[in-house]
Every structure is written in structure tokens, then in C-alpha cells.
């Protein structure tokens, strides 16, 4: 008992600098943002409190609903493409015996490429002219030319494809790590029962991965709700607002008007998004906990 209390105190002493740094750089800005969401300020002249006006302004902005719709669309497409792709890749890679390390490295490589470089590269691939890289390839099999980023219909799927390519490697590594935790006894038992490879995946692999799958699912939703880089660098929200997302809208509130824009509105929208994602996560974890109990 004594030993426990003593180590608790010394733990606290060691922890203190970290907590301090964490508090100052992580939590004070968030608190400032909460305060700012109730203010009107250009950050040069003194701020004035405006109550809920920023929230009202943001909610009245017709562009908000476009942004919400686009973000949900991105999240949906990213779930369709981006969620299964790393899982399939990881399961396949765990099955191969030779060059396993090489495959993991290849899968992980896009994650190492700086995002801005990746976007510039893909911009080049997505050139909408008949001489663009993808269009040349598609042209060889008689398809296209596709407008890629230059059309409201194809711009968002094009962003999702690049985002999936860029992010999948990280998730593959998580799945691969989780797959090593699956006990081989279960596979052996399944083999004795003459289960096919698909039955093994369905009845052994996936149930064993359930915990990781649930976590990556919510991370995927949280991540895609905050998509910013791709629309910002590829299309600037265009064409015709078809790729403007919530984060891009926040950025635009704060910075698009060179005279120092609506920092209040930007923080108000940030906070609404954070709260929405917080609630979503809480509900999700509550639901999944009750599932795992039953």
C-alpha cells in the first residue's frame, strides 16, 4: 500500500511536465477556440462578444449544407473503396509466404510520400486532356477521355481514389499486425473440418479481427469527416462547389478573404463539427460495446 502511494506520487512528478505541455499546447487553444466562437474578431482590433450569432450565421449559410452533403458523400465513397481495400490487401498478404516484407513495404510506400507531393503527382495523372496519363492508358483500351477533376460528377470520386491510395498502407499495417494475433489452432481446426479458404476468412479471420475492424471503422469516419487536403490542393472546392467539404469551408471562413475573415464563424463551425464527431464516436462505442456483450 505504501509502495503504491509512493510510486503514484513519483509518477505524478514525472508526468507533470508532460501534462503541462499537453495542457498548454493542446487544451488552451481548444478553450480559446470555444471562446472565439462567441466573438466577432479580425484578430487585430479588440474582439466583441456576439453570443450565438456566429453559430446562427454558419447554420444559415447555404454553402454549409453543400459542404455537409459533400463530406458525407466523400465519407460514403471512402467507406466503399477505402475500408475494404486495406482489409483485402492485408488478408491476401498474410496468406503469401514469400516476399511478405516486400509487399508490406510496397503497400506502405504511399504513406511515406509527402501528401503534397502525392497530390501534385496525381494532378498530373488526372490531366483531363486526351494526353493525360490516366486518359492515355484508358484511351489505349478505347475509353475516355475522362474529365476527372474538371467535372462536378467525377471530381469527388477522383479525390477518394487518391485518398484511398494515400492512406490504405497505414491501415494495411494495422490489419497485418492484428492478423498475426489470430491463433493458428483455429485455422488448423478449420482445416481438419475441411473448410474452404473463404469459410476460413469468414468464420475465423474476420471474427478474430472484430475489435480492430470496429476501431478502424470509426477512425475512418472521423478521418473522412475532416477531409481537407485533397479538395484544397486538387480542386479548391470546385468545380462549382462540388468538392467543398466542411474543413475547407472552415478554412475559407478564416482565410479566403484576405482582409481577415470570419474567425468566429470558422471556430463556431469547427466546434460544431467536433461535437458532432464526439457524439458519433460515443454512440458508436456504446452500441458496439453492447454488441460485444450479447
Amino acid at each position: 500500500m505504501n509502495r503504491g502511494r509512493g510510486s503514484g506520487l513519483s509518477t505524478l512528478v514525472f508526468l507533470l511536465p508532460l501534462l503541462l505541455v499537453f495542457g498548454v499546447f493542446s487544451w488552451i487553444p481548444i478553450l480559446r477556440a470555444v471562446v472565439m466562437s462567441f466573438q466577432e474578431t479580425n484578430l487585430v482590433t479588440p474582439a466583441t462578444f456576439v453570443g450565438l450569432q456566429n453559430f446562427k450565421d454558419v447554420l444559415a449559410d447555404p454553402l454549409l449544407w453543400t459542404a455537409v452533403k459533400n463530406t458525407l458523400y466523400f465519407a460514403l465513397l471512402a467507406l466503399l473503396f477505402g475500408y475494404p481495400v486495406p482489409l483485402i490487401a492485408a488478408v491476401l498478404m498474410s496468406e503469401v509466404r514469400r516476399f511478405k516484407g516486400l509487399y508490406s513495404a510496397l503497400a506502405y510506400l504511399p504513406v511515406v510520400i509527402p501528401p503534397v507531393v502525392a497530390v501534385l503527382l496525381w494532378k498530373f495523372f488526372y490531366d483531363a486532356g486526351p494526353n493525360g496519363v490516366f486518359n492515355t492508358i484508358l484511351g489505349a483500351v478505347g475509353i475516355g477521355p475522362v474529365s476527372w477533376l474538371q467535372d462536378s460528377g467525377s471530381a469527388m470520386p477522383a479525390l477518394v481514389i487518391e485518398a484511398t491510395w494515400a492512406a490504405a498502407g497505414g491501415t494495411v499495417i494495422i490489419y497485418l499486425a492484428a492478423l498475426t494475433g489470430v491463433t493458428t489452432d483455429l485455422y488448423e481446426a478449420a482445416e481438419i473440418d475441411r473448410a474452404s479458404i473463404w469459410r476460413k476468412i469468414w468464420h475465423v479471420t474476420l471474427p478474430q479481427l472484430r475489435g480492430v475492424l470496429l476501431i478502424t471503422f470509426i477512425l475512418q469516419i472521423v478521418g473522412t469527416s475532416q477531409v481537407f487536403l485533397e479538395p484544397f490542393l486538387f480542386t479548391g472546392g470546385g468545380p462549382a462547389n462540388s468538392t467543398i467539404t466542411i474543413l475547407l469551408l472552415i478554412y475559407d471562413y478564416a482565410f479566403a478573404n484576405s482582409l481577415g475573415g470570419e474567425y468566429g464563424a470558422a471556430t463556431a463551425l469547427s466546434i460544431m463539427l467536433a461535437v458532432a464527431l464526439g457524439i458519433l464516436s460515443a454512440v458508436y462505442f456504446r452500441l458496439t460495446r453492447s454488441w460485444s456483450r450479447s
Binding site: Y251, F255, N257
Partner: protein, 452 residues
């Protein structure tokens, strides 16, 4: 996963507030003053040495002022952060469109008293001076350069398409016909249009002016949006026809300023509209081959309201400057930006320095003062001019005859921004409904204008 952007915005905005709000009025006019001044980023060694030499000269004349150069370049997004964070140099430059707003919100220092004491204070061209003046007519920001929008074209593509590069189009019908011919014969975009980062609205407004329209009407304090007009409709219809009927605008419709300059300099674009003084950045930042370059005045519709949109650059002083810094800042503005426009020795020294570092000298600009002063200053630096003036004749022969119209005054950048998706829609959606787009944009613009 990507949790960073939201945290970034939150943290950035929060950290920015931490250093704002000080309103230092302690005046030290006689003591030593340290003055930070803007210097273009990315200068080569020779240009930096020349800059330093000019700083040394200034310090010799003003022994109590210590000048510290700081790299600075106006771009809409970084400027906002720097302004809010208080990290701008004491003397910095902004485009004409930002002048009135900065003055109204008192985000820059009131230097009107010091400016009015300058010898050329009354000589500014009225159109140009307006951009730096407050409502009451006092000049808070000094106009240092002006431009009028022009039609830039690629002479090589003109030749390849069987067009005469010395006879660029003078009407919009000719622009359309030439663009089609270029696209048909060369496979390149005959005409391209800026569409993102507020530049879509900027160029759309330029074309609207050229057709005789205006985007806002001011009546005392009330501003009325005028986007839903026959002129604007004609402009968008022209773009729609060039894009969808003629297929003469290429495949890229998400150009920002840097992107379109790059594409033009690399020979992908036959014609585009941008500031008449663009030659410098096309050469020094985008490796334009001078032989390709041609520029003409922007075609104006036969309508007595039609005019070329004009803009320019203002030198301003940080709102945080005390009286001593303000006085030093105005001295610097006078010395560094203005004297070369009005004083022979300063003009020659500047041209010599710029030419020595292989930067273009003599690209056409609009006069900040009257035309006589401008012509005289051109004579001073004649021997240093290193740009293909003959190829610029379609512009320089007529630039002074065109009526110049200043950019909209109220919520300029915000209205430009809401016009971006309008022009993007027309260029990327074959079934875009121009009437509906303009009706919506007009309503949105009016909301913005009513708020002020």
C-alpha cells in the same frame, strides 16, 4: 488518420489571438527607430546585394533609422494569417482591392498626415489615388504601381494556327474565332480563363466591365449587387459557347493565377486575360520564352460604359507602428518605391540594378502619377529596357486610350469568391443555367453587401 487539420485551424486561430490587441501609441519621433521593410522573397544574390546597397544608402541619409528587410509577398491566404498574427513588416504592400477595407477596419496605420507632406502628394492620378484613401479623402496607403487588364497571347501559337501575331483580336467575336482556329489547328486551348482562389470572380468582373456592365451600384451608403444583368449574361454565354460549341478552351477549368501563368508560359494556352504588367512574373517565375509573348488591350464592346478593369499595389504601414516608426516608414516608402517614379537618379539606379540581375525592365505599367511624368521616366531608363517592346505594341499603343474602371469597392474579394463557382459551372457543366446561376449569385452578393 487525419485529425490534424481541424486541430490546426483551432490552434492557429487561437495562437494568433494571443499576440494581437496591443495598441501602442508611445511616440519616439527623435530616438533611434528600427524599421522592418518588405523585400520580395526568392531574390537572387545580385538583387539582394542591390537591395542591401539601397538600404545602406537610406540609412546613411537617415542615421537614426535602422532598416531590417523581411521577406514578404502578398498572397490572399498568408496575408490574412500574417495580418492577424501581427507578423507583417512595418512597411508592406497590398493590392488596391484590400486598401479600403484595411482602412475602414483600421488594420493599417493612419499615415495620411505624413503622406500629404510628400512633394508629389497632389500629383497622383485620381483613379489610382482613390484606392489608398479613406472615406474622408485622406490618403492612408500610397499607390506604388498600377495596371490595367490586358489580353495576353502566344505569338507562336498564333503563327501555327495561321493567324497574324501582329494583329491580335480587337473584338470578342474575333477572340472567339481566333480561339477556335488555334484549338482546331494546334490542339491547344485557344482561350483559357482563371477560375479559382477568387480569380474566377476577378476575371469575370473584368469581362463584365469590358462588355459595359458593373457588378455593384453605390448610392451613398447603400450598395446594390448587379450581377444578374444582360452584360454578365452575354459574358457567360460567350464562355459557354467557346467551351461547349467551339471546344476551344482546352480541358483544364480549375486555373489559379500561378497555374494559368505556368500553362501559358509553357505554350498550352493561346490567349488569356490578366494584368497588363504580367510579363515580369511570366519570365522570372515561369520561364516564358520572350519570343512567344504578345499582349493586347482587352477588347471592349461598343458600349459607352465598357472599360478595362484596373488595379494596382499600395504600400501600407502596420497598425502597430508608433509615431516614430510611422515617420520612418513613410520616408522608406518615398525612398524605395516612389522616388524612382518621379526622380531621374533614383529611376536610373533602380533600372540599372534590376537589369543587372537579369530581371525585366520596361514592361508596360500604368502611370501612378500623370502620363507626362510616366513618359519622362521611361526616357530616363531607356538604355536599360530589356523586354520585347515591339511585341507589346498592341497593348502599349492603346493602353492610355482605354477607359479604366476601378474594381468594385464593397466586399470585393468575397463577391469575387462567390463568382468562382458560377464561371466553373458554365465551363464544366454543359447544362448550366446561366440565368439561375446569376440570380442566385446576385442574391448572395446582396446579402454580403447588406451586412456591411
Amino acid at each position: 488518420m487525419k485529425l490534424t487539420p481541424i486541430a490546426l485551424v483551432v490552434a492557429l486561430t487561437a495562437s494568433l489571438t494571443a499576440c494581437s490587441g496591443s495598441d501602442d501609441k508611445a511616440a519616439v519621433p527623435d530616438g533611434p527607430v528600427t524599421l522592418t521593410v518588405a523585400r520580395d522573397p526568392g531574390l537572387d544574390k545580385g538583387a539582394i546585394a542591390a537591395f542591401d546597397a539601397r538600404v545602406a544608402q537610406f540609412e546613411k541619409d537617415n542615421p537614426k533609422i535602422d532598416v531590417v528587410p523581411q521577406e514578404y509577398n502578398w498572397t490572399a491566404t498568408t496575408f490574412t494569417a500574417q495580418l492577424a498574427g501581427g507578423t507583417l513588416p512595418d512597411v508592406f504592400t497590398v493590392p488596391f482591392t484590400d486598401g479600403r477595407g484595411l482602412i475602414e477596419r483600421k488594420q493599417i496605420a493612419d499615415i495620411s498626415g505624413l503622406v500629404s507632406a510628400l512633394p508629389y502628394a497632389t500629383k497622383f492620378s485620381e483613379n489610382v489615388a482613390k484606392a489608398g484613401k479613406a472615406e474622408d479623402g485622406k490618403m492612408w496607403a500610397v499607390p506604388i504601381a498600377a495596371y490595367g487588364q490586358a489580353l495576353h497571347y502566344n505569338r507562336t501559337l498564333f503563327k501555327q494556327a495561321g493567324l497574324d501575331p501582329d494583329k491580335p483580336p480587337t473584338t470578342w467575336d474575333e477572340v472567339r474565332a481566333d480561339a477556335k482556329q488555334i484549338a482546331d489547328k494546334t490542339g491547344k486551348a485557344g482561350y483559357a480563363e482563371l477560375t479559382t482562389d477568387n480569380t474566377g470572380g476577378w476575371i469575370l468582373t473584368t469581362l463584365d466591365y469590358a462588355f459595359g456592365g458593373r457588378t455593384e451600384k453605390l448610392d451613398g451608403d447603400t450598395a446594390t449587387a448587379q450581377l444578374d444583368t444582360p452584360e454578365m449574361t452575354s459574358v457567360l454565354q460567350l464562355l459557354k459557347d467557346m467551351r461547349w460549341s467551339d471546344n476551344s478552351m482546352g480541358a483544364n477549368f480549375l486555373y489559379d493565377w500561378a497555374g494559368i501563368n505556368q500553362a501559358f508560359a509553357s505554350g498550352q494556352i493561346g490567349m488569356y486575360v490578366s494584368g497588363g504588367g504580367n510579363y515580369g512574373s511570366l519570365v522570372t517565375q515561369n520561364a516564358l520564352k520572350p519570343v512567344d509573348y504578345g499582349v493586347a488591350t482587352i477588347p471592349l464592346a461598343s458600349n459607352d460604359q465598357a472599360g478595362a478593369l484596373g488595379g494596382g499595389t499600395l504600400a501600407t504601414v502596420s497598425a502597430k507602428a508608433n509615431d516614430g516608426v510611422k515617420a520612418a516608414a513613410v520616408k522608406w516608402i518615398d525612398y524605395f518605391y516612389m522616388k524612382k517614379l518621379a526622380d531621374k537618379d533614383a529611376a536610373v539606379l533602380d533600372a540599372k540594378t534590376v537589369a543587372a540581375s537579369k530581371q525585366p525592365v520596361g514592361a508596360p505599367q500604368l502611370p501612378v502619377f500623370d502620363k507626362a511624368t510616366y513618359d519622362e521616366s521611361l526616357g530616363w531608363v531607356k538604355e536599360y529596357v530589356n523586354v520585347p517592346l515591339d511585341q507589346m505594341k498592341p497593348y502599349t499603343d492603346k493602353m492610355f486610350d482605354q477607359p479604366l474602371v476601378t474594381e468594385p469597392v464593397r466586399s470585393t474579394q468575397e463577391v469575387y469568391k462567390l463568382l468562382d463557382p458560377v464561371v466553373q459551372s458554365v465551363l464544366t457543366n454543359k447544362d448550366a443555367d446561366i440565368a439561375k446561376l446569376l440570380k442566385n449569385a446576385n442574391a448572395e452578393a446582396q446579402t454580403l453587401l447588406d451586412r456591411k
